[in-house]
């Protein structure tokens, strides 16, 4: 019962973070602020969902290595792709705030 409550809260938290990230992507005014919103939300949103999956699979007695691999891969690649995007835009445009 307790495990189910913890997993449900983590799932809802992850879904809410994903939704907030996409709302930020639509509503924020500038490219660099728009870059900020989904990068954070992707890490926390997918992280919450993966944590819920790990809790569930630990309760079922299995290890859940696939979820862990997905989370590890995303945590490594999300900052790299955000950095590449900001570098590509800074090359072509004036820096933010000008």
């Amino acid at each position: 019962m307790l495990i189910e409550i913890v997993a449900s809260v983590l799932v809802l938290l992850g879904g809410a973070f994903t939704l907030v990230g996409s709302i930020g992507l639509v509503r924020l005014p500038d490219f660099f602020t728009r870059l900020h919103a989904p990068t954070k939300a992707a890490t926390l949103g997918v992280g919450g969902i993966v944590a819920a999956g790990l809790v569930q699979s630990a309760a079922a007695g299995t290890m859940g290595l696939r979820e862990l691999a997905i989370a590890l891969f995303l945590f490594i690649t999300a900052p790299v792709s955000a950095h590449l995007l900001s570098k590509a835009v800074l090359r072509h445009r004036d820096p933010p705030g000008s």
Binding site: E4, I5, A7, S8, V9, V11, L12, G14, G15, A16, T18, L19, G21, S22, I23, L25, V26, F31, R34, L35, P38, A42, G45, V46, I49, V50, A52, G53, Q56, R66, E67, A69, I70, F73, L74, T77, A78, V80, S81, L84, L85, K87, A88, V89, R91, H92
Partner: protein, 89 residues
């Protein structure tokens, strides 16, 4: 209870994907569209993870891993195209 939470979260992620498609269509610059595509692939990973937990199918996690890899490679290639004008060479 967990299945209800999973369904609510699936709805949230689906709404997030719809909002991302709005930015993908509207986005004023090319970089906005690349960012929207990247976010769309991450949202698809979240959707597949939730569906895999709801349906108890191990195959969906492998699909999520594949989308993670292709999403990162495509974002890196598009950024390189934006920076240099070509991808390889």
């Amino acid at each position: 209870m967990l299945s209800v939470a999973l369904q609510v979260a699936l709805g949230m992620v689906a709404l997030a994907m719809a909002l991302t498609v709005v930015r993908l269509v509207r986005g004023p610059t090319v970089a906005d569209r690349i960012l929207a595509l990247d976010t769309l692939s991450i949202n698809a990973i979240a959707l597949l993870l939730l569906a895999g937990m709801l349906l108890q199918g191990a195959m969906l996690f492998e699909a999520a891993l594949l989308i993670a890899m292709t999403g990162f490679v495509s974002t890196a290639a598009l950024c390189r195209f934006l920076l240099r004008g070509d991808v390889i060479g």
